[in-house]
Symmetry: C2
Subunit: 373 residues, 2 copies
């Protein structure tokens, strides 16, 4: 059996291991918390720091292949492992490009991939030089995750919210739709592209309400988005699975927002919604199996279950019973014992052929299920 | 989090734990082999003998609830745990009835549940007294599993194949169809019944070719079968999940063959084929969640992947790549490193709205995938 390791033991690792159960593979996880969501679901759990060179190298040295569930890992160790013959998904080079926002934006620019105009900044003072560039989004070069490390700078008065560290200032796109496209690439360079997903954002709260799949966009726009997603992946020159997040602006122009070189929140609906889920697909890539089918079984909505504001402590799921009664709802809770405001605690997928039913049940879940303590 | 244990760590435990990943639960498994398919997928693995009173009692004492993936466990320990407040699925009393073929047949008789006529035998010599009762099936009272402990006695010359131990001799039913119906029962005595499954048997080899769901039987026959399955479960008076195997004879009369008080091979297709799988359903029962929906998402075929005759040793899956290329095939391999003739090594589920497509792909899998060493 092939020995394959995952750096990181959160919900993405957990769902990866859930999919691994279908295949013959010996699984390894490294994370610094032995109570993390994935720790008890692998053959071998190693407590360790995924950002530490020696820890990652020692963990990877015993493996045939290694993947990540978070970008913030030691990519120098991955590069060394790659040089020594361990298969790395995504490649250390691709990870390096994506991990740093500056390198990622320069990568898009270099390859003519449409992505909003940007300026590299080193300090908050730099922002003062670019008032005419506003409104814009300031993104920390390294270390941002799940919304942290991102600030909207609409005008001079917002500048204090910016980062006093290497960052990119991206021109604000006049967004009509936010979509995401997941693409898998195997070691033979074959690709499989998933149908686009659409994010329904609550503009008042600037929060994701829910996701819909397939995205409701014009066919020509979709073709452009798919072509761009494939171009991103082609230029990254790496096997693995990639989530390309895109904007469609009010003129129907498509822009890449950013890319994640791993399984991604925007692909969770594929567990029930598609023949081969994003998790299944990554195992197929890593085990040198044929790519799976990305065809849709049912249109779906996906709702993230996040920790309610003002609650920190042992998690309680209020309203869970009602949600479990919804015939076409699939509940996924991540086994995190402690809730914090905004912490991803689970998700619910709704499947239905009727869009109105998807939206109705998504709203019911969104408002009916609360994580408190 | 509720602490729930499973006695047995084979593929049924493995798939149960796969479904548990969606819910907050602390899982325990006891099995005498630390390399069994389920050992690495639980929070706490205990190496121990599931037929030993003290081992089962000690394992169960720390739990809120306990279930089984095989009947051959120590039911006296389960009865004691039940008396001490541990929830047991199925109840020790129901398990005791089902575990012994004599008690099971007497149970059907007592409750007027149609099941073929039978005679209790203690020795092979007893069979000689009942030549006029042949053709019949001889079933060992205790310890049979997966086809072992069952012999067809067509005439006097087969008597030597019988069992020289307590057993039942059941009149052979003139089978037109073999079907199975899975029923879940929660602690409030609510039930959920799955659509019937039909076994397609290769009569030359007396082997299961594949299963189809839904079963292709007349509506009236189906209603009778469902009523009988519900009656079996009602009289067992136990929460849990039950697979009722039935025969439809050439006169369209329905007979119970036998019942399993646990998740069952005939329900594996529910992972992809139904809203709530049999594994998901049992967790709902054990976690006191609402029952899930048993509605069909897609008609399905299920093919068992068993070890090829004449091969014993490290398992190799010949033809696996071709099967993984079938868009609508879902491959489940159980992580058993060693193959033996007839050993269940995995299964494949096909989904399609077209019955011909189900049969076509089922045959392709049946003949295209071989477990050798």
């Amino acid at each position: 059996m092939k020995k394959i390791g995952i750096l990181g033991g959160g919900q993405l690792g957990r769902m990866l291991l859930q999919a691994a159960i279908n295949y013959p593979v010996e699984t390894y996880v490294m994370e610094n918390d032995s109570n993390c969501p994935a720790a008890h679901l692998c053959n071998h759990f190693v407590e360790g720091d995924i950002t530490n060179y020696q820890a990652v190298y020692d963990f990877g040295k015993q493996l045939d292949a290694i993947t990540i569930e978070i970008e913030h890992v030691n990519e120098d160790a991955l590069a060394q492992l790659e040089a020594e013959g361990v298969q790395v998904f995504p490649s250390a080079a691709a990870l390096k490009i994506i991990k740093n926002k500056i390198a990622q934006k320069e990568f898009y620019q270099l390859h003519g991939i449409p992505s909003s105009e940007f300026i590299v900044t080193q300090t908050i003072a730099d922002l003062q030089q670019h008032l005419s560039f506003l409104p814009a989004v300031h993104k920390l070069n390294a270390g941002g995750y799940d919304g942290r490390g991102v600030q909207v700078i609409k005008s001079a008065s917002d500048i204090e919210k910016g980062f006093n560290a290497p960052a990119v200032l991206e021109k604000l796109v006049d967004i009509k739709k936010e979509i995401a496209i997941i693409v898998a690439v195997n070691s033979k360079n074959e690709t499989a592209i998933y149908p686009a997903v659409e994010m329904i954002v609550n503009k008042d709260l600037n929060q994701l309400d829910y996701q819909l799949c397939p995205a409701d966009i014009a066919e020509k726009t979709l073709w452009t988005a798919e072509a761009i997603a494939l171009k991103v992946v082609k230029e990254l020159k790496s096997p693995g699975i990639f989530a390309v997040e895109l904007f469609v602006d009010t003129n129907n122009v498509v822009w890449v927002n950013e890319t994640a070189p791993r399984v991604h929140n925007s692909g969770h609906h594929t567990i029930e919604g598609n023949f081969s889920s994003q998790f299944d697909m990554l195992w197929r890539v890593m085990l040198d199996y044929p790519l799976g089918s990305t065809e849709i079984l049912f249109p779906s909505a996906l709702i993230n279950i996040v920790g309610e504001a003002n609650y920190t402590g042992p998690a309680k799921f209020e309203g869970l019973e009602d949600i479990l009664k919804i015939e076409n709802a699939f509940v996924h809770l991540y086994g995190k014992s402690t809730t914090k405001p905004g912490r991803k605690m689970g998700h619910v997928t709704i499947i239905s052929k009727e869009k109105q039913e998807l939206i109705h049940q998504a709203q019911r879940v969104r408002h009916g299920l609360k994580v408190v303590s």
